[in-house]
């Protein structure tokens, strides 16, 4: 389990995150949502260990983040950043294999390759093994990186709870790929028991796939709970300053969120945008 409580992060003397927190259990898919600048990425980075919070603490499987040796931590939690650029050309399979660094010296090269191929297949990039990463489209590159992170936390016989922390994994995917990607995450949570914390911009995807939604606003935790309880017209209005309707199309398992464009108006500055 990931426990991040009362996280506060200060940047140049100003709090950009205060009293925010999130718990991720194994097998859970949690969507982290909020307007730009609400602190989603900061919270994710604090959970990932890239930022040491000025307040509060993060623990994974009962052990404080700082107490984890680097490669041990890497075996139980993988992080996908928003965009990763490679300075040199490299075959896709090599990139994915690099995710196995924490197991270096503990497994045969052929096994590493097999895991890498399997992860590529999961993200729909089978047949891309020998392609140069830098010739892939943005969306394909992102999925290749996801495959690398999947390889990183892959275990034949998991001995510990494992987690994925993803920053906007659907950003450069088309509408079909967004659904495929979230279905994959859902499957990883349900079948492999991974605990997944992902930043999402698309509220309908959050509604459809997440077990819980964590809504941030202005660096604070606004609401958290099952999607239907957080993604209400009031929740969306408070979180994003947008008027929205939540409708229940007949025959659909999940409600749909429709935003009303006329209610938004022009860009406003920060002070007036957040009531």
């Amino acid at each position: 389990m990931i426990e991040a409580n009362h996280i506060g992060v200060r940047k140049s003397g100003r709090w950009i995150l205060r009293k925010a927190g999130v718990q991720v259990r194994a097998g859970e898919l949690i969507a982290l949502i909020g307007a730009n600048g609400a602190g989603k990425s900061t919270l994710l980075k604090a959970v990932a260990g890239e930022i040491t919070p000025d307040e509060g603490a993060v623990a994974i499987n009962g052990r404080a983040l700082a107490a984890w040796p680097g490669t041990d931590l890497a075996q139980v939690r993988g992080v996908l950043s928003q965009s990763v650029e490679l300075p040199f050309s490299m075959p896709v399979l090599d990139l994915v294999e690099m995710g196995r660094y924490p197991y270096q010296g503990q497994e045969a090269a052929a096994h590493t390759k097999a895991i890498a191929r399997n992860c590529l297949q999961q993200v729909g990039l089978q047949g891309y093994e020998e392609r140069d990463v830098r010739t892939l489209s943005g969306g394909e590159q992102q999925r290749a990186q996801l495959a690398r992170v999947l390889a990183q936390v892959h275990r034949d016989q998991p001995s510990q709870e494992r987690f994925l922390l993803l920053d906007e994994p659907t950003a450069s995917q088309d509408i079909a790929q967004k659904q495929q990607l979230l279905s994959l995450l859902r499957k990883l949570a349900d079948e492999a028991g991974l605990g997944i914390l992902t930043i999402l911009h698309d509220l309908n995807l959050a509604m459809q796939y997440a077990d819980r939604v964590v809504l941030l606003r202005g660096g604070h935790l606004l609401k958290s709970g099952p999607p239907e309880t957080v993604l209400t017209p009031e929740g969306i209005a408070q979180g994003f300053g947008v008027k929205a309707r939540v409708v229940h199309p007949p025959g659909e398992a999940h409600p749909h969120i429709l935003t009303c464009p006329t209610a938004v108006g022009l860009f406003q500055n920060e002070e007036t945008a957040i009531p």
């Binding site: 990932a48 260990g49 890239e50 680097g70 490669t71 041990d72 931590l73 890497a74 075996q75 993988g78 992080v79 950043s81 990763v84 650029e85 490679l86 300075p87 040199f88 050309s89 490299m90 075959p91 090599d94 690099m98 995710g99 660094y101 924490p102 270096q104 830098r134 990183q152």
Partner: protein
């Protein structure tokens, strides 16, 4: 494959020179020296092969290989194909101290100078390269974190400062000193002997092995420091190891051979084109190819205008720069 080519090249280089030798004679000399055979060869022949050519060829192998492996590692660390160990100030530091050594070995450094004798410049250059690198590293570090970008910027600043100091000293030097300085900055492997090799080899080989053991870490650093850390790499430690080892290698090479341009930059590029950017094969390939190219470059340097000799630094830049431009044009689209 490269290893074989390197061995053959080294053998060929033994035969070629201002005074070219038949293969049997060289074989006999090697037999005499290594197996203790009594071939009854003239003293001069044995001296030429064993004490002049062989150390010089081995020196080329280690200097070329060392510069190239250091270049490959530094390019990986900086995630920049244009990076060169010279960027972190190694070369300019060596230059300042070497020039100071040439100028002051008789006066200010009198005691040390007379004790070290001919090696003063070498020791000074090595010290200078290490001191400058540590200065650059220190400038780029705060609170236990070293910024790679700041390191590049500090390196550029320190290199400029080094250039100014070198220029200043050059300006105040007399005719003989000026000649020494010029030759040192143009690079030469002419001073090779077994003692020099005995000093150089461990200073190149040990750091090279340590660098090679950081291959996987360097691979992950290609994704950026953040990604590498997420995957379990101790990035601060890797930075320190790579910079330290590169400084040792390049410092030692520059100290014995002066400034040899373009090897550290071009060789890793070539190897990357052939074998891709994974460091396990890249570092090894760079070391071998660097050694190979340097053997041929030095053979050319000592034969092209024989009996005189071309400074090897001129030759590597003369050949390396157009080649690098050709490479740029050829790969323009993929860069």
């Amino acid at each position: 494959m490269l290893t074989l080519l390197l061995a053959i090249s080294a053998l060929c280089a033994l035969l070629i020179g201002a005074y070219s030798l038949p293969v049997q004679q060289v074989g006999l000399v090697m037999g005499e020296q290594l197996l203790g055979l009594e071939a009854g060869l003239p003293q001069t022949l044995s001296y030429l092969v064993w004490d002049i050519r062989l150390p010089r060829i081995l020196l080329s192998v280690f200097v070329g290989g060392g510069l190239a492996i250091a270049g490959a590692a530094v390019q990986g660390l900086f995630r920049n194909p244009l990076a060169d160990p010279a960027l972190i100030g190694v070369t300019s530091g060596a230059m300042v101290f070497a020039v100071a050594g040439i100028l002051f070995s008789a006066s200010v450094l009198g005691v040390i100078g007379s004790w070290l004798g001919y090696a003063t410049v070498t020791v000074m250059a090595f010290t200078g390269s290490l001191l400058t690198t540590f200065l650059v590293y220190w400038l780029a570090s705060s609170k236990g974190y070293t910024s790679v970008v700041t390191m590049l910027l500090a390196g550029v600043a320190i290199t400029a400062l080094g250039g100014a100091l070198t220029g200043l000293m050059t300006y105040f030097s007399d005719e003989d000193e000026l000649r020494d300085i010029t030759f040192w900055t143009l690079g030469s492997l002419g001073g090779a002997n077994w003692q020099m090799l005995a000093l150089l080899v461990p200073l190149v080989l040990l750091p090279a092995i340590i660098l090679w053991r950081q291959s996987s870490q360097l691979d992950l650093l290609l994704l950026g420091e953040r990604e590498a850390a997420y995957t379990g790499v101790n990035t601060q430690r890797t930075k320190w190891i790579v910079i330290g080892c590169a400084a040792l290698i390049v410092g030692a090479c520059v100290a014995v051979s002066g400034v040899i341009a373009f090897v550290a930059l071009v060789v890793p590029h070539l190897v990357r084109l052939i074998q891709g950017p994974r460091h396990h094969s890249l570092l090894l390939g760079s070391a071998l190819l660097g050694g190979l190219l340097m053997v041929w470059a030095d053979t050319a340097a000592r034969t092209l205008i024989a009996p005189a000799e071309l400074p090897i630094g001129i030759l590597t830049a003369l050949l390396g720069a157009p080649f690098f431009i050709w490479l740029l044009l050829k790969t323009k689209r993929s860069l």
